[in-house]
């Protein structure tokens, strides 16, 4: 007769779950070799009769029996290389912008940016298609005749000249996809009741463009931008209008903070459309996150 301790231990073992042949399982993702029939008289082991299949001497994929394979014969030119991860900038021409202004679709008394162009419901962007904003093309550069403060994502030299000739100003500005989604559908974004996101800095391959005074990058030195404006005016042969005594000076020099995406609204604030008010959280960690670049 066993002692009390042994009896207790045995009872415990009986009640506990244990590893047994009935509950042992393989690790997930385990691979098995094909089962072969080893009984007497079986010779082909499930691999068919003769040939490369039975002997395991199949050619590798893409081998064309000694002939130069297609993949080597056709030269590849990678126009669409890395297409899936490239940033896309859908075009909008200067003519189209002028038409929007003529038909009162955008307000010239405010700076024109992604949100004001998309709020016309005539143009739209799609984050799923890697859209990162608008590319202003040169069509209609000769007939452009408005004094505007334009903020877009991609421009050329001629576009800058066409706008600055009329006394306007232009900035190229990077928005990360999350901010862009808030910008191109402001109504839907405010209805969600989420805090206004802070804008990220441009990725490494776009940093050079957005800090270049020749492209009026938003991270460029303002003094260098003034010099570049004069240089461009000399190159294209027009007189640069003086901004110091301009009645529209405040409008033309309005700029957003690099972290800011809406004029007058700071990142971290929450817009309440129902009560027509703005909620400003006071939590210290929250404020630190929304006012710094990490």
């Amino acid at each position: 007769m066993a002692s009390k301790v042994t009896e207790k231990a045995l009872n415990l073992i009986k009640s506990l779950p244990r590893v047994a042949i009935s509950n042992v399982k393989d690790l997930p993702g385990t691979l098995y070799k094909k089962k072969t029939n080893r009984s007497a008289g079986r010779k082909k082991k499930g691999r068919g009769d003769k040939g490369q299949g039975a002997r395991g001497t199949l050619d590798p994929l893409g081998y064309e029996g000694g002939q130069r394979p297609l993949i080597d014969a056709v030269p590849s030119e990678k126009y669409y290389g890395k297409y899936a991860i490239r940033r896309q900038y859908p075009p909008i021409s200067l003519l189209e912008i002028q038409r929007l202004i003529d038909l009162n679709r955008v307000d010239v008394t405010r700076p024109i940016d992604v949100s004001s162009i998309c709020n016309t419901r005539l143009y739209s962007l799609d984050v799923a298609k890697n859209h990162f904003g608008f590319n202003v093309t040169e069509e209609g550069c000769d007939l452009f005749a408005s004094k505007v403060n334009l903020e877009v994502q991609w421009v050329t030299e001629l576009v800058i000249a066409a706008i600055e000739k009329n006394g306007g100003t232009i900035t190229t500005r990077y928005y990360d996809p999350q901010c862009l989604a808030a910008l191109f559908d402001t109504q839907a974004f405010f209805e969600k009741g989420q805090p206004i996101p802070k804008c990220k800095l441009p990725p490494q391959d776009a940093l050079a463009y957005y800090s270049d005074p020749n492209f009026r990058g938003y991270l460029a030195d303002p003094e260098k931008i003034l010099m570049a404006r004069e240089k461009l005016a000399q190159k294209y042969g027009y007189k640069l209008p003086d901004l110091t005594d301009d009645p529209l000076k405040d409008l033309l020099l309005m700029r957003k903070d690099p972290l800011q995406i809406f004029y007058g609204l700071e990142p971290g604030w929450i817009v309440n459309l129902a009560d027509k008010c703005i909620l400003k959280p006071k939590d210290e960690d929250y404020l630190r996150y929304y006012s710094n670049v990490y």
Binding site: Q98, R105, N119, L143, V271, I278, D283
Partner: protein, 208 residues
Amino acid sequence: MATFTVSLLRTCNKCRQIIKPSLSFARNTYLNSRLKCEQNVRLLTTAPPPLNNSSLNEENVAEKPDYPTDFEVSYDEFKYVLPLLPRPTVPELPKHATFPTPSGWFPPNEELIAKQTFLIRRTKNHLLPVYPELKRVQVGPYKAIKHSVIIRKIEGDIWALEAELREYLLEKTGLKVIKTQVHEVGRFIRIRGMHRPLVAEFMFERGM
């Protein structure tokens, strides 16, 4: 084995006792224990059981709210939100001193329109209702694209418009034939070919 134990063990919300089934897995014992407690029985999870009856809980709620609620409300700064919202309707046209505008837009000429037997209205965006259309077709072994132009918002004599437009296009393009489709009920005309600029020119000449 582990999943088996978890699915069978229940806790009582009030007394927080674990209701254990017997080793023989008798269903009756489980049901009896459930009846004894007369409480909502929930699955045993990793989350702590909800505390809902003791006086301690009320104090806890007062100490720790669900969300950090310390914020300031500003009604004045809502004026910055208003210009960011889209306009619900297409705005009215501004008063231009001269036409055409810098982008080449001009309003319809009503004197010229009065002379015609038909009318093509502008769209709500103040532009011509002339749209390109594209159809991919398989012609025998070949794949082809059929281009066409559609004119919508037609009022009045649609057949007169079609005859006049076809003559105009024949003259301008020098083609032998221009294929058209007239839809009397849908009030549109479809023209084969990429003739959108010519159609627009025709309509501007007639003051549309």
